[in-house]
Amino acid sequence: MQSPTAPQPHITVTGLTMAYGSFVLMRDLTFSINRGDIFIIMGGSGCGKSTLLKILVGLKEPAAGTVLYNDVSLWEVPPGERDLILRRTGILYQSGALWSSMTLAENVALPLEQYTGLGPRDIRELVSLKLALVGLAGFEDFYPSEISGGMRKRAGLARAMALDPEILFFDEPSAGLDPVSAHLLDELILELRESLQATVVIVTHELASIFAIGTNSVFLDVDKRTMTATGNPNDLLRETKDPSLRHFLTRGEE
């Protein structure tokens, strides 16, 4: 479907400024996320990675600039249309954000019940498939408080994938996971990207993940209050002259 020579932009960000009241967090962010990318939003703590994600998924309005999904501006269309765009996305929150009073099956089923006309049996089958995909077959009737943090994260991923999204967003997917689980989650993300032909956007500062799975990235510099680089993280490491980016990509060793 996609040819590697001519990347199609899936999300295009132009001149974006993020601010809380009069406090400007980042200004002049311009980059595009191509179809099939594993796009990393990276930067030190407090640089606004999560805020950028919130703007991309429609939770927070930018102070200036545009976010285009294909050719539609997310923040300039009426809210109803924005919901339609966002329904084609799935988000995995940092701690899973599963609804604690619902079982895993009910958590995954809710988007399906809301947005598809499927009957309870079809939904149950789809839910079992999604949970099996993230390695949680048989845990349908567990409550989020009864499973481990890593399992909660995977269940959150099953919920994010419920509607077969075109774009999957991850907020710090490996935070709070042991290295092996983090690696397995990375593999899972790669596998799902390949099989579902989805675009993946990841907010993270885990260098291991950044280099292992990232195909494109943007670096947010805390001190300069803007982005200083975009591109494949491995290329950035090889080519960059910017001291703060080098510092970040080498864990402060260079």
Partner: protein
């Protein structure tokens, strides 16, 4: 509406065809789009074909005409594979789209955890009764535990060893005292007003409207002022205690205190208990005054009584004992509301809905115990003759 009855299996746009190129092979040929929101072909024909003589030995997929697919296609394939496996037919998945094939492998990679799936069991009524009684007994011992721990915390406080922050205590005094003044004013003034109206209807008939003052005075100061503040504080502050401590329980903040060696009883429950025990009697005195004021408004403006006369009659009729009894009521209510709120909060489950339940049961427990305590105190006063 189930997809299986919605379309005729062979000719639908999102369809599947079955073919038998040779005696041992059954080919399932998919065509069109398999996606959310579209009707999928049924499996009846396939079930028949799997059992038709001569029995096929293997099942082969052909997806060359498949235009679009998503998770529902995977579910459909899994069903077909399960059916084939049940019929003893081997499945060759090579004909499926590469992405679908990988996802199916991924889904099968981690086997279903044995014993993880839960089945709803129905217990016999005797077992249910036994379970309920055990749960009730356990709840009772938990309450005793809690009361014991609170008592120990109070003892520690008396010995000056309790760990609790002054600023927390002061903030609680403010939120459960001063901030409650507006609602206490409104409710108790209205209760005084209502009492005066109800009494006036009867007393005016005897020309004894001056006794409205003693009716309102004694009722408010002896018991109503305390009960009204108790109920207001149960809904206002008791609920807040339960919600706050419950949320701390959900966020593991209480565990964090325990592991730090700080007793949550001293650090969280004690300041709340003290704040309410100090503030309830003060609020009660204030409510008494507002209630008398409500009666005064009715007496003076509706019944045309002399203001000085009304106040003098109130002063004469209300014995000081009534005032003290009211204060005892309110101090007891303060303890009950604080304990109910803190107990429900500390024993909250670890989910958002558990916080809601804890808050609800804190208010219900407080109000029930306020009414029961009033009854007990009234009986005791009656026996003692005060």
């Amino acid at each position: 509406m189930s997809a299986e009855t919605a379309t005729s299996p062979t000719k639908a746009a999102a369809g599947q065809e079955l073919a038998r190129p040779d005696a041992s092979t059954l080919v399932v040929r998919f065509g069109g789009a398999f996606a959310l929101g579209l009707a999928l072909p049924g499996l009846e024909e396939l079930r028949g074909a799997l059992e038709a003589e001569p029995r096929p030995a293997r099942l082969v997929f052909d997806a060359t005409d498949l235009t679009r697919w998503d998770s529902r296609f995977l579910v459909h394939c899994r069903k077909i594979m399960d059916l084939a496996r049940a019929a003893g037919v081997s499945v060759e998945t090579a004909g499926l789209p590469a992405g679908a094939l990988r996802l199916l492998e991924l889904a099968a990679k981690v086997p279903e955890r044995k014993g993880a799936a839960r089945t709803a069991t129905r217990e016999a009524w005797l077992a249910r009764l036994g379970g309920r009684s055990q749960a009730a007994w356990q709840a009772f011992t938990e309450v005793l535990d809690f009361l014991g721990e609170v008592t120990l915390a109070v003892c520690n406080l008396a010995r000056g060893r309790a760990v609790m922050r002054r600023s927390d205590f002061l903030a609680l005094l403010h939120s459960s005292g001063a901030q409650a003044l507006p609602i206490v004013s409104l409710i108790s003034a209205l209760v005084g007003l209502i009492l005066a109206f109800v009494g006036a209807v009867q007393l005016v008939a005897f020309g004894a409207q001056i006794y409205v003052s003693s009716l309102v005075g004694i009722a408010m100061i002896r018991v109503m002022g305390a009960i009204m503040t108790g109920i207001i504080m149960a809904g206002r502050t008791g609920a807040a205690f339960a919600a706050e401590l419950g949320t701390m329980q959900v966020n593991e903040e209480i565990d964090a205190l325990r592991t730090l060696g700080v007793s949550p009883m001293e650090f969280l429950v004690l300041p709340r208990l003290l704040a309410l025990v100090v503030m309830m009697p003060l609020l009660c005195i204030y409510a008494d005054l507002m209630g008398v004021l409500g009666g005064f408004v009715v007496g003076v403006f509706m019944l045309d009584l002399n203001p000085a006369q009304y106040l003098a009659a109130t002063w004469d009729s209300v014995a000081l004992a009534n005032f003290w009894i009211g204060l005892v009521h309110s101090a007891v209510f303060g303890v009950l509301v604080a304990l109910a709120g803190c107990y429900r909060g500390m024993h909250c489950g670890r989910s958002a809905s558990a916080v809601g339940q804890a808050t609800t049961s804190a208010v219900v427990t407080s109000i029930i115990s306020i009414i029961i305590a009033t009854a007990i105190i009234t009986v005791i006063c009656n026996i003692l003759g005060i």
